[in-house]
Amino acid sequence: MIYALLLIPAIAAVLSLIVRSNIFRRIILVTAAVSHTVITITAWNKEANPLLNGWLMLDKPGLLFLTITSVLFLACSLYAFGYLAGESGRKEQDFEEGIFFTNAPAAIFCACLLAFLTTMTLVTVSQHFGLMWVAMEATTLASAPLIYFHRHHRSLEATWKYLLICSVGIALALLGNFFMVIAASAPESNDKSMILSVLLQQGHLLNVPWLKAAFLLFLVGYGTKMGLAPMHTWLPDAHSESPSVVSALMSGALLNCAFLGILRSYQVCLAAGLGRFCQDLLVLFGLISIGWAAVFILGQPDYKRMLAYSSVEHMGILALGVGIGAGATFGAMLHAVNHSLTKAMLFLAAGNILAVYKTKTTKRVSGIMTIMPATGIIWIAGFFAITGIPPFGIFLSEFTIVKSMIEQGRIGIAVAFLAILALIFIGMAIAFLNMAQGRKDDSLQIADNPDTAISVLPPLALGALTLMLGLYIPPVVNNLLHDVAVIMGGY
């Protein structure tokens, strides 16, 4: 089953490079996505067999993050189906500066998308730290060409920054891997493998200083990829310059995968009794990220960058949730799900907006509700969802996290958290509402209603999911989240 999960997108990637027909290629993309999701869902019912001596295994955290990735990819591939019909390989005029550029060929785009899925799947299923690192680096490489889809100098700059910064970060994570090995190579232990379950069993035998250092490196290294401030700097550039489908995938799936990397090392630290040490760091980085995001969200002139900073914020909330521990761990897991759904929905809507208004400047967009009502509704609903207003899911997860903070007597953190969230709310409200509601710009030459089913339904479905999670959490999901939370030292 795990092989299927890995091979289907991989083969599809190769196929889409070979195939000549554009429409056929798009069908391959969607088919691969659908089958990937189907297999993932069967994995919920039937436990997948471990493979390669336990190197590949779907444990509960892996399953959770795999599902997020798979569902998002499905929605994004459907959206891309419509998107690619118009965009790829075309010569276009840049709306910011008026320069001409071409888009990357659809073959490369599809192949990279599918490769991206393969590598992310590998991250979620690998139990071996080394293998996970390889997969993580591979995600960077697979996604770099995606960012450089619009071939002009801004996206090039973004790609360059993404590549270099993430590579540096991942390199540090590699060092963390080595440190972990050293920590595990105490003479008493007989099995010196880097497989998670083995490390967890031998937790008490691990060398503490090296493990601490290893965690620091993982935190900084994978934290770079995950977008924790102040290592997040590549994130707004990459998210704003890449096509919206890619932004949605990166924000919703890739960042989570990086978070999974941190969580894995956190698991080992928990087993070694270093829980408190890690938690304090996670809380620290969580708060820095949320605060940093707030600084840039207020008065942010570019709406895609605003969404990117919002991702930084929410990654901070994830870290904070796990760092607080206890009930907040559950909240953090729930938040990971909710954030992915919501953020992907917003990025896809942003794609629709960008296609019509041809600008990423918030001030130049107004009257979405009038011009394209469906996207307008998604945009507003997404805004309420992302800022944690009930009845959307993020409210629940944030509520759980704050509740846990207060119950543990960490009032200062709770107050700071709520205050920053309020600031972010203000910043986002100003931008989103003026965009969605404002008066329609008459100079805009637009067809009657640019919304199409394929451009509206995927984000709408994601929104419906997060709305459902705010009103009703199915018991299966609830159990899984709780199991993951228990694994991560909370409940």
Binding site: T233, P390, L433
Partner: protein, 659 residues
């Protein structure tokens, strides 16, 4: 209880049906309004039952989200709030069905009706929710749906601005409530209200402050009221009526509910409430006086009336604190009765304002005038509302204020300094509020409806249709009926008071009985008054019947060409008072004096911006923005610097943690 829930379902289905039929304006209005009315009637029946018999009804369902349970309950306190919620909303829906049709060309009417019905459901759920999470969800449904209603005409910049301010205020208020419920739930071990008991006093103090800020933002306590003067004018008028009449009362409800949960009140809580009430009341009406826009003026009056209600609550709480049944019973009775009364007359006034807006296309007071002749029904009902809101006998507004007066007077007779000082504050504040309200509404009514039309806007006035008329007349009749039957209402309030005060039943019953006796006297006087008025009217008719009754111009002191522009304006009418209180109002005046021998142009303009907005929130926001813009230097586009951040983070962490 099931009847209640079915009512909500009907309302929702109505909203949904109108959303689906959004393109067909007539159908959308019909479904929306019919759903709201039918559902309200269905759902209000259990509320009345509970109010009269005091038997609590509850309903509990598991809810598959963390800490949540769908636990709802109607007790007498809920019923007191449910009755105006459903009553006013149904009446306003009838009004809205006609009012919104004016937008049928430009707008899809499905959405406003959907959100209107959702708002109604949200309010009802807030009042019956007995689980913290359910409460918060309902609370936000209420806030969100009202936000969409406020921004109905979102093409206008001012409306969007209003929506934004409203949304932000609600969000910040809710943040306090989140903390409030979490702390409460932490103490009780569950977010269900029935699990809570014996809150320790230190926690209770914190919770009280959180409740004041959280609920106060909704209710519109000074200085948390900033959203009110923006949101109410922006919304369609029937929505303003509902928002001002009942939605902000959910804040009061929350406070009352919190007070019943938090246990015995220390004295300072009472003082806080009384002071907030007095400040909100006096400043609210003062700012109202300085406004030029009718709906904005009414919005500030909501702040004022919330102040009066809060005074009532504070007085009642003081009664509990001082163990004085008189004070407790009369304070709460007055406060809660004012909740209902305010719903009726403020609803009426907003509907009246809507009618003016609807037919004259402007709410600017100084552009109107003389429309009593063109809109007799609107004028008459607006007059009734004005009298009621000024707290003048024989209408309902007087009764609730009277009860509060009576409480502090009675209590002040017996006690020492600690009893007299609240009496002094309350009497002073209420008297001042009464006087200022009178000034404000004579200004509003006088300038808008009387005299000559001041502009073309006023010239085009015409009476509104039957739906709108019906709503206004119904509410006007209620103003009178609630005044006349106030003794009965007060007498039946014993369950509510019992639930809030935790006094013994005989105490409450005795106090209410004596209050109702007093009120019978008042009713007696009122009836005589009506009788005398009737007699004199007939007499006057008889006297004038055979005589010469002539029409002529207003006495012009010999100046032969007085034009409508020479009439006293609202601004000039209010000027002595606004000057007197300029310390608080800080009205800005722009004058361009007439110049030369034959002056062509001169202008005078006043602008009274909100004091708390101008001197608290704006500077705070400015400072924060400045600080943040300085911090944005951190992300300046250089790759090298970015890598430096990573290196520094790693270095610092390694050095710090490896030490």
């Amino acid at each position: 209880m099931s009847l209640f829930l079915w009512g909500l379902v009907i309302i929702f289905v109505g909203g949904l049906a109108s959303l689906i039929n959004g393109r067909r304006a007539g159908l959308a209005s019909f479904f929306g309004a019919a759903g709201a009315v039918a559902g309200s009637i269905t759902a209000v029946i259990p509320a009345f039952k509970v109010f009269l018999h005091g038997v609590t009804e509850s309903f509990r369902l598991n809810w598959n989200i963390p800490f949540g349970s769908f636990f709802v309950q109607i007790d007498a306190i809920s019923a007191v709030f449910l009755i105006p919620i459903f009553g006013l909303s149904a009446i306003a829906a009838v009004y809205g069905a006609e009012y919104l049709l004016a937008y049928r060309e430009k707008k899809n009417l499905g959405a406003p009706w959907f959100f209107y019905n959702l708002l109604l459901i949200g309010m009802a759920l807030v009042v019956v929710a007995r689980n913290g999470l359910l409460f918060l969800v309902a609370w936000e449904i209420m806030s969100l749906s009202s936000f969409f209603l406020v921004t109905f005409e979102y093409e206008r910049q001012t409306v969007r601005q209003a929506g934004l301010i409203y949304l932000i205020a609600m969000h910040i208020g809710t943040a306090f409530l989140v903390v409030f419920f979490i702390l409460l739930g932490h103490h009780a071990g569950s977010l269900d209200f029935d699990k809570i008991s014996g809150v320790p006093s230190s926690l209770a103090n914190v919770l009280f402050m959180l409740a004041i800020v959280g609920f106060g933002t909704k209710a519109g306590f000074m200085p948390l009221h900033v959203w009110l003067p923006y949101a109410h004018p922006a919304a369609p008028s029937h929505v303003s009526a509902v928002m001002s009449g009942v939605m902000i009362k959910t804040g009061i409800y929350g406070l009352v509910r919190a007070l019943t949960i938090l246990g015995f009140p220390p004295a300072w809580w009472c003082w806080v409430l009384i002071l907030i009430g007095a400040v909100s009341g006096v400043l609210g009406v003062l700012f109202a006086l300085a406004q030029h826009d009718l709906k904005r003026l009414l919005a500030y009056h909501s702040v004022e009336n919330i102040g009066i209600i809060t005074i009532g609550l504070g007085v009642g709480l003081l009664g509990i604190n001082m163990n004085s049944p008189i004070l407790a019973v009369l304070g709460f009775a007055g406060g809660l009765f004012h909740v209902i009364n305010h719903a009726v007359f403020k609803g009426l006034l907003f509907l009246g304002a809507g009618a003016v807006l609807h037919s004259c296309k402007t709410g600017h007071i100084d552009l109107l005038g003389g429309i009593i002749k063109r809109m007799p029904w609107t004028a008459f009902t607006f007059l009734i509302g004005s009298i009621a809101i000024c707290g003048l006998p024989p209408l309902n507004g007087f009764v609730s204020e009277f009860l509060i007066y009576l409480g502090v007077f009675k209590n002040g007779m017996g006690g020492g300094l600690e009893a007299v000082i609240p009496a002094l504050i309350v009497i002073g504040a209420l008297a001042l509020i009464g006087g200022l309200a009178l000034a404000c509404f004579t200004k509003a009514f006088g300038v808008i409806f009387l005299g000559h039309p001041r502009s073309d806007y006023a010239q085009q006035a015409h009476e509104v249709g039957p739906g709108m008329k019906f709503s206004m007349v119904t509410l006007a009749a209620l103003c009178l009926l609630l005044g006349i039957f106030s003794p009965l209402v007060i007498k039946s309030a014993e369950n509510v008071i019992l639930e809030i005060t935790l006094l013994t039943f005989p105490d409450v019953q005795a106090e209410l009985a004596s209050a109702s006796t007093v009120l019978w006297n008042f009713v007696f006087v009122s009836l005589i008054l009506f009788g005398i008025i009737g007699v004199f009217t007939v007499l006057r008719k008889l006297l004038l019947s055979g005589r010469c009754v002539r029409q002529t111009v207003t006495w012009d002191c010999g100046y032969a060409q007085p034009g409508p522009k020479m009439q006293y304006t609202a601004t000039s009418f209010a000027q002595p008072l606004t000057d007197l209180f300029k310390l608080f109002l800080r009205t800005r005046k722009d004058i361009s004096h007439p110049k030369g021998v034959f002056p062509v142009q001169s202008a005078f303009h006043t602008d009274t911006s909100d004091i708390s907005e101008k001197y608290m929130y704006e500077p705070a926001y400015k400072w924060i923005s400045l600080l943040l813009s300085k911090l944005r230097w951190f992300q300046h586009g250089r790759l090298q610097i970015y890598v430096l951040y990573i290196a520094l983070t790693l270095g610092i962490l390694l050095i710090w943690k490896m030490m």
